[in-house]
Symmetry: C2
Subunit: 350 residues, 2 copies
Amino acid sequence: MATIKDVARKAEVSTATVSAVINDSAYVSPELRARVLAAVRDLSYAPSLAARNLKRGRSQLIALVVADLANPFFSRVVWAAEAAVAAWGYSLLIFNSDEKPEVERRILARVRTLSCDGVILVPVGDSTEHLQSDPDGKPIPTVLFGRTVAGDRSDTVTIDNISASRQATEYLLDLGHTRLGTVTGPLHLTTGRGRLDGMLAAMRSRGLALESRYIRSGEFREDAAYSVARSLLEQPSRPTALYVASGLMALGVMRAVADLGLRCPGDISIASTDTIPGIGGLRPRLTRTEHPLVDMTNEAVRLLVDQIRRGGPAEPRNVVFQPSLVVGDSCAPVVARSVASPLSSSGSGQ
Amino acid sequence: MATIKDVARKAEVSTATVSAVINDSAYVSPELRARVLAAVRDLSYAPSLAARNLKRGRSQLIALVVADLANPFFSRVVWAAEAAVAAWGYSLLIFNSDEKPEVERRILARVRTLSCDGVILVPVGDSTEHLQSDPDGKPIPTVLFGRTVAGDRSDTVTIDNISASRQATEYLLDLGHTRLGTVTGPLHLTTGRGRLDGMLAAMRSRGLALESRYIRSGEFREDAAYSVARSLLEQPSRPTALYVASGLMALGVMRAVADLGLRCPGDISIASTDTIPGIGGLRPRLTRTEHPLVDMTNEAVRLLVDQIRRGGPAEPRNVVFQPSLVVGDSCAPVVARSVASPLSSSGSGQ
DNA sequence: AAAACTCACCTAATCGATTAGCTGGGTTCG
DNA sequence: CGAACCCAGCTAATCGATTAGGTGAGTTTT
């Protein structure tokens, strides 16, 4: 690889001049500029980022740390983030904390040594102390994505979880369902907890309660959702409708429903928050709330770049996006009988 | 951020000693070692990768350049690659060439200036000259993934496309289908072309031909598959079974089938290569061939790390994985009438 | 006991950029 | 006319690590 010295020698100028031409950081006469550019081309010179970064103290790297790369939701975030980050001139590093706080800690240490300019983090722990690079040093610019952490002062980009589950729940209630159940995420996460809370609020405001035996939470995974959904649905009297807190979980629930020989929406209605893109040709089509994922990701990157540019965090900004309901055909009106005597209709399926 | 000098000063040793302790690159007496480690801890020192990389000429970075990040297939590759790369001590940069050769070119230039230690590339162009870092310089260690490029001398990791489509096709033929159609990928890609060829070969060996009006190719995208499938299925006499060359395309085909009011497998059987993970609870369940994606990705990373370690490419290695058929319920035996008089049964579906 | 080795550690050059500060020729102004 | 100023371009310090080569004390060899 040619270095700046080779270019300088070939163009018969100093390295400072080459640098000035390359970075447009000072006026250089047209003649020298042309000589430099010719030399750059001839040697097919590309500046070493390692050297540049060492001197400048930045790296043009943004890290995206997601909680579970196997979840299609986060895959889409990766997709959107790659584009957004590239548009700002950065490159994207991907890390998977796999929902493990200690892995997250290791990753953030590595992010530090790689001197990434910023991090977009889907936090899995309940603390973000480790975001501080060290006691004295300044923290790495950070934007929390999707989830928040109590007491943290980073920028955040989230959706309104309460509203998401409320919308889905109200849709089910409007169809006449009263015996609802839910498969939600871990309750120590704002996404899992918030989506349960919104559902509870929606039911309460109609004077209904959510029976605790109809509430299940598990990790945001297909298999976890499958098993909690199974145990939920195998109870003697099962709910007539379910709200599921994630698209991936909805798949697990669907599989449980299929394996139990139940029909959706015939035997049970299902509404979720988020879905798996592209499955519109399969049956049933999920009724769900959708997040403006691309906008959210763009906003996260914008906030992060802003932090990087201003060189330190300002007053923390919390951007909340609104989900919207998309109706499929996984929900059906409850049959009159069930409404009239909810406790007696235990064997409707099969 | 503390530097190695700060550590050296605090531990009252030279920077060389600190470096030796950190890298275990030379014997250091227990006493000094302890002093150094204490200083490292107190200052919470982490070596600057920028400086280290500049000196060492490597970066601990591996780039993964995929053809379409929006495709769940590649999302899974990202997931598997992140884990594999981390296990070898590298970090993963993600780039999306979006099937555009000129974007790929730009990305590879950037990969060079970032001085990535290696690249896993899903090539979109038909040339890999730009893999050469420059006329004289040595090329970046590279492994081509999924697709190959004629005349290239990199290591490659692929599946046996011929076998994949042959297995799926034979399954359909065994069910009695004779009027087959296909929705495959772009024919200039080894994946699109190979999967068509395997199908043709399977049919030929049974004395059958694949009518050209039943052959459609399009980009490996859901929407592209949707539209070519629609135009394929809207023809006066449509095939009784389809082979679809990718999981994402299968979703598009399913949507087209649904929109046309056809039932799968009642009106049309569908078999594909690859699927979308987790959709086992939705109907129909795809009959498809599956690749050992995780093994493939691990192998790609292994080959790449091997190239990096040996410092230059050896004789190119081409590893081909075998797909296996997984039966769902998207295919049905053809009804006797259709087998007897294939040309007369135009209006069987809706 | 002097020569020859080891060993543990240090000094200083080096990687390839950026950039503060200098230089010397040309303008401007009092 | 000389002082003050500008300006393009250069010299050399610098970023923070690694590492070749050096040093002096202790050990072995003859």
